[in-house]
């Protein structure tokens, strides 16, 4: 690290940023299509299959539709906050990709290129910090819309996100204790032999439930419960701003899937296939699981949501940390 970063390093970093941005935005758009088709199959329907072969061009058509729609701002809305909120919801998800390692360092022309934008030694905390910021998009979007439905959705989202963030943080503590580091690279390296899910099935279950709640998806989709709140916090949004909220949700699905892969499934480690393929396969499996759960489970009630978080998940997470500590102390 001692040398000054030269122009080539800078170019490589910019190229990595560009590639990641393009890839994840495309993936998020296609995940929308995947979700619609999979949900349709689960419900014994066909889903969108008219635009292009098997409906593969549907994301493009959706994009054109969203871009050409009018950008409405309701009367009495708090104009600036209303316009800024969708960006606040999507940006933290994109920023989190900066610390995720996609594969082992690549050797190209005698130069080591890590497949990760930056290896922060507080990587886990960086992710927790960003996920705690993502609350503002939902809350301010709901508040600024000057609509009762949106406000209720915003308040629900706020309460849900801050509660489940706690469980998420606590479920990551055993991972950090096992890896003895906050850096995502070290966490992946510590799972070279066996993934952490084998040592920490409870922590994995807790993390998975809390990331379901973090991306506001069924059974935790109370902030946007269509049947009672119209569309919750984004009820008043139209056009590209609605699209940003929408894509933000899918970006969150991908990024949280990637993090679950990194923390519990050994990241890019895997036999036979190249590392990047393993990584993508694991993340896709998580995305499929998210969609599958949405097609299968009903929505919780607001009080059940809070009871589950504070009276079940939090004590279990604390007990799990304690047990992990004991185990690490008595282990020879």
């Amino acid at each position: 690290m001692g040398q000054m970063p030269d122009t080539l390093d800078l170019l490589i970093t910019i190229a990595k940023l560009g590639v990641i941005l393009v890839v994840i935005l495309t993936l998020a758009a296609n995940l929308v299509l995947a979700e619609r088709r999979l949900l349709a199959w689960i419900q014994d329907r066909q889903g969108p299959n008219r635009v292009g072969p098997q409906g593969l061009l549907q994301p493009l058509a959706d994009l054109i539709k969203l871009v050409t729609k009018e950008d409405l701002c309701p009367d009495g809305a708090d104009r600036w906050l209303f316009l800024l909120a969708p960006a606040m919801a999507a940006i933290p998800a994109i920023l989190t990709f900066a610390v995720i390692p996609f594969g082992p360092p690549l050797s190209l022309l005698g130069r080591e290129i890590p497949l990760q934008v930056v290896d922060l030694h507080v990587g886990v905390l960086f992710f927790v910090a960003l996920s705690s910021i993502a609350v503002y998009g939902v809350a301010l979007g709901g508040w600024a819309s000057n609509s009762k439905y949106a406000l209720l959705g915003g308040i629900r989202g706020l309460a849900q996100l801050i509660s489940y963030e706690l469980v998420m943080g606590l479920s990551l503590a055993p991972v950090v204790m096992l890896a003895r580091s906050f850096s995502l690279n070290d966490i992946v390296a510590a799972q070279a032999d066996l993934p952490f899910i084998l040592f920490q099935p409870v922590a994995f279950a807790l993390f998975f439930i809390s990331i379901l709640a973090e991306c506001k998806r069924t059974p935790f989709d109370l902030p946007e419960a269509e049947s009672e709140l119209v569309a919750g916090f984004h009820a008043e949004y139209s056009g590209l701003r609605f699209g940003l909220f929408f894509v933000g949700e899918y970006l969150n699905v991908i990024v949280l899937g990637a993090l679950a892969t990194t923390f519990f499934l050994g990241g890019w480690h895997g036999p036979l296939l190249p590392p990047i393929v393993w990584f993508c396969a694991k993340v896709s499996a998580f995305c499929f699981l998210f969609i599958w759960i949405r097609g299968t489970l009903p929505r919780l009630r607001s009080d059940q949501l809070m009871q589950l978080c504070w009276k079940v998940l939090t004590p279990v997470a604390l007990g799990n940390i304690l047990c992990t500590g004991w185990w690490l102390t008595i282990k020879p």
């Binding site: 906050l81 030694h121 507080v122 910090a129 910021i133 503002y136 308040i155 706020l158 801050i162």
Partner: protein, 160 residues
């Protein structure tokens, strides 16, 4: 680096100033969060990424969210307040601010500036200090928080 520091310092100062003068509570919260963010980046520039992360997680991500939550729940009216408070109203603020400023000035002029160092073992050292050297103090503070929690629950429960 220096340019970035002054830019962030400017953002933090302006945001904090606007937070105080802003009449709308939600806008004030947003300004304060902006200020915390620039402070976090400044901490990072000074070689303390751990403090930067805590600044965002605890202050911007937890405390301000709770502020926002209560503001959204009780929706206070934007009240017209007297913009020219008399001396009677602001002498406590003046006194406390004066003490703070004097302490700050004393610290700056009596001790030579120490350069912050970046070390990968930062978290380990931090944890040792927090839970071994000052462990008893941390436990006492946690117990205080527990008392406050029980007290709040008692007060809130009695109303029903």
């Amino acid at each position: 680096m220096t340019v970035l520091f002054y830019l962030l310092a400017l953002v933090a100062t302006v945001a904090t100033f606007l937070c105080i003068t802003e009449r709308h509570p939600v806008h004030a919260v947003v300004y304060l969060v902006t200020s915390f963010f620039s402070l976090a980046v400044i901490f990072y520039l000074l070689g303390a990424p751990l403090v930067a992360a805590f600044e965002v997680i605890i202050y911007a991500g937890a405390i301000m969210v709770l502020f926002l939550f209560s503001i959204m729940m009780i929706r206070p009216e934007v009240t017209e307040i007297d913009l020219h408070p008399g001396f009677r109203d602001w002498w406590p603020a003046l006194l406390l601010g004066g003490i703070l400023l004097a302490a700050l000035g004393y610290t700056i002029f009596s001790q030579p500036l120490r350069q912050g160092t970046v070390s990968p073992g930062e978290i380990r050292e931090f944890a040792r200090l927090l839970f071994q050297k000052y462990g008893v103090a941390v436990e006492i503070v946690s117990l205080q928080l527990l008392f406050a929690l029980v007290g709040a629950h008692y007060l809130g429960g009695r109303r029903r």
